[in-house]
């Protein structure tokens, strides 16, 4: 049995190499699912067998949560993708060469994200985030329509600027660490940085964090750096929208959290909390209002992702055991719910042959499973009980009310505005007169229901080991 970390990283690389040359999309789709499942199984073994820390790779309680979530959503998305891609080939939107490229890129993207999460070296983590960005840029432009190219170009330019600023911040962290830790690779290793952080030059660390917040914040999709996100979600293939929202935003958030812990360990550095709270609230309020004017259903849920990343960054900015716990839970719930919604929306858009909200209507009558699935997804993402998002949003709001009532009011206001917008749009799509084609769906509903089922379960009953784990991680985050 190989080392789990090697397994998680090697499986996608080997799979990508095979997928590039494999003819036939059915075989490719099956291999894509098998490789993602293998990575998920390797990730699960991390729970029992934790490999030691090396200068390049690290497994600790924090990143196991992210890696597991990453591999799980990667696996479910690959199974959704298998049925989605079949339809795209039938209607001639994608050629077989495109599909080979797509499957290989999908695996390389999973590799990049897992590497970023497992990296123990701030330079390696940066490279991995860049790799994941480049692969998603390619996939966003896959359809080669004018809109898709425009989205990919915008994403590429904004993403590159973000990633460049993050590298500048990384260099500044190295400069701050060098006098304390010593020259060379030692000054880029997380585990060394954590222990030495109290002695770092605090003003250098402050400037570094501003660059890292702007850089990785662009990738998290925080307002006002979010401009790439709605286009990239709307114009790429839907499985990519699902992993962008469910996973890539989390990876950037993870990088931000690591640096935040570093800053918090230094007594003289600025508190990172207020900056994150400010950007989080701004994203929430901005996205909540933008939700009202959306005419494209994928674009709408992309704005909802900005809104949720705002809430999550806000929660981590509030920090404290409860704030961090709520942030972790909200992040997990958002990943599961939002990718589930994109699975549903992907099939709806295929049936209707359009992503325009005006072209859809009465889905609960014409396609009961998809229609009610969308309603369930909407209820979950808007934070209605009994879904898990309700639990986490309730925790964020209640913990904020105790400490900063004014901020809590702004938060609740943003949540209500967003709720209104989602309700307004989704009722039109799900109920009322049937609009658009009513053809049969060639869909596999299992990934969607698996996600919504987990979110529902988390809302009713959170397994005690998970609660203990999250509490422990929340304490680590300070």
């Amino acid at each position: 049995m190989p080392d789990p970390v090697t397994g998680i990283l090697l499986t996608p690389i080997v799979a990508a190499a095979i997928l590039v040359v494999l003819p036939g999309y059915r075989l490719g789709a099956v291999l894509n699912v098998i490789a993602s499942l293998a990575a998920l199984l390797f990730a699960l073994t991390l729970l029992w067998h934790r490999p030691g820390t090396t200068p390049y790779l690290l497994v600790d309680d924090l990143n196991i949560v992210f890696v597991l979530l990453n591999c799980f959503v990667g696996f479910t998305t690959s199974s959704f993708s298998a049925s989605y891609i079949g339809h795209e080939i039938q209607i001639g939107k994608l050629s077989l060469t495109n599909i080979r490229f797509y499957h290989a890129m999908f695996q390389i993207m999973l590799f990049g994200m897992n590497l970023a999460l497992l990296a123990n070296n701030i330079g390696l983590m940066w490279v991995a985030v860049e790799l994941a960005t480049l692969t998603t840029v390619m996939m966003v432009g896959l359809y080669r329509t004018a809109e898709a190219l425009e989205a990919a170009w915008k994403y590429f330019i904004l993403g590159s600027v973000g990633i460049a600023l993050a590298l500048f911040g990384t260099i500044l962290v190295y400069l701050a660490a060098r006098p304390v830790v010593g020259e060379g690779i030692d000054a880029m290793i997380w585990t060394n940085l954590f222990h030495a952080a109290p002695d770092f030059d605090s003003s250098l660390l402050n400037i570094a964090f501003v660059f890292l917040l702007l850089g990785y914040g662009t990738k998290v999709g925080l307002a006002p750096l979010h401009a790439w996100l709605p286009d990239a979600h709307a114009e790429g293939p839907t499985p990519i929208s699902a992993v962008l929202s469910g996973l890539l935003l989390n990876v950037a958030l993870y990088a931000l959290l690591r640096f935040k812990v570093l800053l918090a360990a230094n007594p003289n550095a600025i508190a990172p909390g207020p900056l994150m709270i400010g950007m989080g609230l701004l994203s929430l309020i901005f996205a909540a209002f933008m939700l009202y004017r959306r005419r494209d259903i994928k674009r709408m849920f992309a704005y909802s992702s900005i809104e949720h990343m705002g809430i999550i960054v806000f929660a981590f900015g509030m920090a404290g055991p409860l704030g961090n716990f709520a942030g972790l839970l909200q992040m997990t719930m958002h990943s599961l719910t939002k990718s589930g919604i994109f699975f549903c929306v992907g099939h709806i858009a295929q049936v209707k042959g359009s992503q325009k909200i005006a072209d859809m209507g009465g889905l609960t009558a014409s396609h009961p499973v998809l229609g009610w699935g969308l309603v369930a997804g909407m209820a979950a993402i808007a934070g209605l009980p009994p879904f898990g998002v309700f639990t986490s949003e309730f925790l964020v709001v209640s913990s904020t009310f105790v400490r900063e009532p004014v901020l809590a009011l702004i938060l609740v206001f943003g949540l209500l505005v967003a709720f209104g917008a989602l309700l307004l749009r989704v009722t039109g799509v799900a109920f009322g007169p049937v609009i658009g084609p009513v053809g049969r769906v060639h869909a596999s509903y299992i990934p969607m229901f698996a996600h919504f089922g987990l979110v529902l379960m988390a809302g009713i009953w959170l397994p005690p080991p998970l609660v203990t784990w999250f509490q422990h991680v929340a304490a680590l985050l300070g």
């Binding site: 080669r144 170009w153 400069l175």
Partner: protein
């Protein structure tokens, strides 16, 4: 007062080369022709290569010569040449359209340099002086690169802006003494990858639009925002 720097000649030369990079960044700001801009990009990368090579010399870090060589081969020669070919083959507009006048852009550039010196010099007071000046000047180059990307409409000049921004980051990375090799190679590598991606995109954009003006793309997208 004698005109001798307290840090010695090696510092002065490092400082001069970094300052030269900022000057070449300014040269990019007033180019109105695409081909001239590509020539300046080549010059920018050439100055970077010199600066990195000098850092390699004074730090006694031979691996930095690789970075310098890569900057010279790829960024000073190969990429400007390829972009130039693209301009000819695709018959692109040779004039660059800018947002705001040249004068205002130059003033904004000066303000950005002042800003980065103001921000970086006080906080790096304890760092070693070579790294300190380099980081401040590198930040100026990064910010001017951003300014170019913001004020240019045309996709190729945005790529040029992005590459000058990356040059600034390379300057910072090599100025930080002992920064591991991994990073330098990957920086150079990522620029190469980024270039390939851009190349692919430019060709695809060409297939669709017959123009490489970004504002044209905005028009295509219409009211979907």
């Amino acid at each position: 007062m004698a005109f001798v720097s307290p840090h010695g000649l090696s510092f002065d030369i490092a400082h001069m080369l970094a300052g030269l990079l900022v000057l070449v960044s300014f040269m990019m700001l007033y180019q109105l022709r695409l081909l001239a801009l590509l020539h300046v990009l080549g010059l920018h990368a050439f100055v970077l290569a010199l600066s990195v090579a000098w850092q390699a010399h004074i730090q006694g870090a031979p691996h930095l010569y690789i970075t310098a060589g890569m900057a010279l081969a790829f960024k000073a020669i190969l990429i400007p040449w390829a972009l130039r070919r693209m301009v000819f083959q695709m018959g692109l507009h040779r004039e660059i359209e800018t947002v705001g006048g040249i004068g205002i852009t130059m003033l904004a550039g000066i303000a950005l340099v002042a800003l980065s010196l103001q921000v970086m010099l006080p906080v790096t007071a304890n760092a070693d002086p070579v790294a300190r000046e380099d980081i401040a000047l590198a930040l100026s180059v990064v910010l001017i690169g951003l300014l170019i990307m913001v004020t240019r409409q045309n996709a190729i000049s945005q790529v040029v802006g992005f590459m000058s921004l990356e040059n600034g980051i390379n300057l910072a990375a090599t100025g930080a003494r002992g920064m591991p090799l991994v990073v330098e190679i990957t920086v150079a590598f990522s620029i190469l990858v980024a270039f390939i991606v851009v190349g692919v995109f430019l060709f695809r954009i060409r297939e669709r639009f017959d123009t490489i003006d970004i504002s044209e793309l905005d028009r295509v997208r219409g009211g979907q925002m």
